[in-house]
């Protein structure tokens, strides 16, 4: 099915563990993004990618790593999870203006 999918939908991990959130889109959009959504802060940009092999930091990149070896995939890795990274993470893709969001991954770091 066409669209943007995230996995897993829910994840509980321990402090210090590495965890990877997956994002896959079928539109061949050039741009992909990772946002986190927290109460009182709205959605904040973590990383974005303008094309395969091109990534750049957003507003809150510390503690996160991304890669984009293929246009359709944009995984987000927390190298050593901390409690402050407990959040809902949204992946999005765009052709330049209209953005389409995945359903989100609710991550809890205990």
């Amino acid at each position: 099915d066409a669209g943007i999918t995230q996995s897993p939908r829910y994840k509980i991990t321990e402090t210090g563990r590495q965890v990877t959130l997956m994002c896959h889109q079928t539109w061949s959009h050039s741009y992909m993004f990772w946002y986190r959504q927290d109460l009182g802060h709205g959605l904040r940009l973590i990383y974005y990618s303008a094309a395969a092999d091109i990534t750049d930091k957003g507003e809150v990149p510390d503690g996160y790593v991304v890669s984009r070896s293929k246009t359709e995939n944009f995984p987000l890795t927390l190298e050593s999870a901390t409690r402050s990274q407990t959040s809902v993470y949204f992946c999005a893709s765009s052709g330049g203006t209209d953005a389409f969001f995945g359903q989100g991954t609710r991550l809890t770091v205990v």
Partner: protein
């Protein structure tokens, strides 16, 4: 840093009432977007306003972009329980990046 201030943060009204949500910035954006988000889902794009003074209508929803392209408003006429949700304004930046306001949680009581 470009910031978007959205108000009010919470709105609780009765079915049939009208309401307006405001989105203000100290900076000029090339365009502003409005999203609606339901619990457990990602934001969904409602509209993009591009030209200063532009007004767009989507059934009972009216969106306006300020003449100076620094502010926008969303007006809902005769609100219905199905309008309940989180409304987000977002300023479009380079490479499709979005700066979001904090959101307005709207509850429409039957």
């Amino acid at each position: 840093t470009q910031l978007l201030e959205q108000s009010p943060q919470f709105l609780s009204i009765q079915e049939g009432e009208n309401l307006t949500v405001y989105c203000n910035s100290s900076s000029v954006f090339s365009s502003l977007q409005w999203y609606r988000q339901e619990p457990g889902e990602g934001p969904v794009l409602l509209v993009t306003v591009v030209t200063g003074g532009e007004v767009k209508k989507l059934k009972r929803l009216t969106f306006q972009f300020g003449d100076a392209r620094k502010d926008s408003s969303l007006h809902i006429t005769a609100a219905q329980p199905g309008d309940t949700g989180l409304y987000l304004c977002a300023g479009l930046r380079s490479y499709g990046k979005l700066t979001f306001g904090q959101g307005t949680i709207l509850t429409v009581h039957p």
